[in-house]
Amino acid sequence: MMEDGDAAVVAQVQAGDVQAFRLLVERHQPTVFRLAFRMTGNQQDAEDAVQETFLRAYRQLRRFEPRASFGTWLYRIAANCTLDLLRKRQREAEHRAGPEFAATQAPESLFANAPSPDRLAANAEEQQQVESALEQLTPLERAAFTLRHLEGRSIAEISATLGVGANAAKQGIFRAVRKLRRVLEPMRSPIQ
């Protein structure tokens, strides 16, 4: 993330310049989107999470401590907004037709956005199996696992980002790995 100049822009926004917030959105949107997309596996949800993240950041900006890193602060908001969205989606899925529906829905938009059709063709089945397995995780498990496995965050950082204790973060990761193993193990031998 570009940190240079964030402090000055934040000060402008705090002084009431809404337009200056655009610069912060343009600088940090890719990172926020990447995190949200990895956590949700869905472009539309990721875009919604980006909107909610920046809106929440704007609302809370007057409480932002200027000595802190804006990028780190925003990343924490993004992780929590996306976690809230995952929880909401889970409730909606259960409300629609019970948990089996939620567990067996394949993500529709995830594979429509692959960078190359050839690569997509080669990896689609494997990727779909992984995404289906990730769909089995609870929102907290998925958030903790994504932050550790795909975002490379340490357990201490995950704990601070999600506002849970280190042991809860660890347990989330352990449960996620166990569930992934349970779902993916039977599919692995014919593929690898």
Binding site: V18, F33, L55, Y58, N113, Q127, G165
Partner: protein
């Protein structure tokens, strides 16, 4: 070194094991553990990041265009300024919101309703639906509450006991949970679910005990606290009840769907 557990191998994979060198040495020497680790490694290497949609200036501009009207509306909305005046601690705000939600639920449940003079099937179904919906809201809130209680107990159980033990984080969470727990317990008792109410009573005793303890304890004091509240026993019961509540919630969702169709 004894054989590392699956959890230790997971931490080792992410370079977060407390004694990584000892595990590395053990894997060098132990074929079974090496095979287990390779297995885990293959599994985790399989889980790659999904292909990312391209994100550039156009996407950032689109995000800004979608966001801007909401920010302007936000700036003009002055109620939020009034809310800023509330400097309540987080636990007090959360407890108040939980209290309001449960009050709304209980009011809905026990408020006398007019008895239909000539009931017929569609009306009866229509009246049952809000009751189902209220029950699901309650089960959802209680499920979330029990999950958070589990987090507090797990954290407490895994507290480091070298010298002084700091339980301030668990304590803050326990304080947040006490009021909600009381409301859930009262509701379960009124509904005649004494089994769940008893578990919630055990949990409440533990939460109050944690809330009222000093935030830093000596090892001996921490041992005394654990003996008094038996967190492992309470955690087990809360996990069982938590999964039952989630199952009932899912069951309710299925019934509602069936009624609608």
């Amino acid at each position: 070194m004894k054989h590392p557990s699956e959890e230790e191998l997971i931490l080792f994979y992410y370079a977060e094991a407390e004694d990584g060198q000892a595990i590395a040495d053990h894997l060098e020497a132990c074929e079974a553990c090496r095979a287990a680790y390779q297995d885990l490694k293959h599994l985790l290497l399989w889980v790659n990041a999904p292909p990312m949609p391209e994100q550039g200036q156009a996407e950032a501009a689109a995000a800004w265009n979608r966001l801007r009207p909401r920010l302007v509306a936000q700036r003009d909305f002055r109620w939020s300024d009034l809310l800023q005046l509330w400097h309540w601690p987080r636990w007090a705000t959360a407890a108040t919101l939980a209290l309001l939600l449960l009050t709304a639920f209980l009011a809905g449940r026990y408020w006398p309703r007019p008895v239909p003079t000539a009931p017929h099937a569609p009306t009866a179904v229509a009246q049952r639906e809000p009751a189902h919906a209220r029950e699901r809201v309650f089960l959802n809130e209680m499920g979330n509450h029990l999950e958070r209680a589990q987090v507090a107990l797990i954290e407490l159980i895994h507290s480091k006991t070298n010298g002084v033990v700091d339980i301030s984080w668990e304590q803050a969470l326990a304080k947040e949970l006490v009021n909600m727990n009381w409301l859930c317990r009262q509701t379960c008792a009124r509904l005649g679910d004494t089994g769940t109410a008893n578990v919630l009573e055990d949990l409440e005793r533990a939460l109050i005990e944690i809330s009222n303890s000093p935030s830093t304890l000596s090892s001996a004091e921490f041992g005394g606290l654990c003996r008094r509240i038996e967190p492992n026993r309470v955690l087990f019961k809360v996990q069982v009840v938590g999964s039952q509540v989630r199952a009932r919630e899912r069951d309710g969702a299925r019934k509602l769907t069936a009624n609608r169709s």
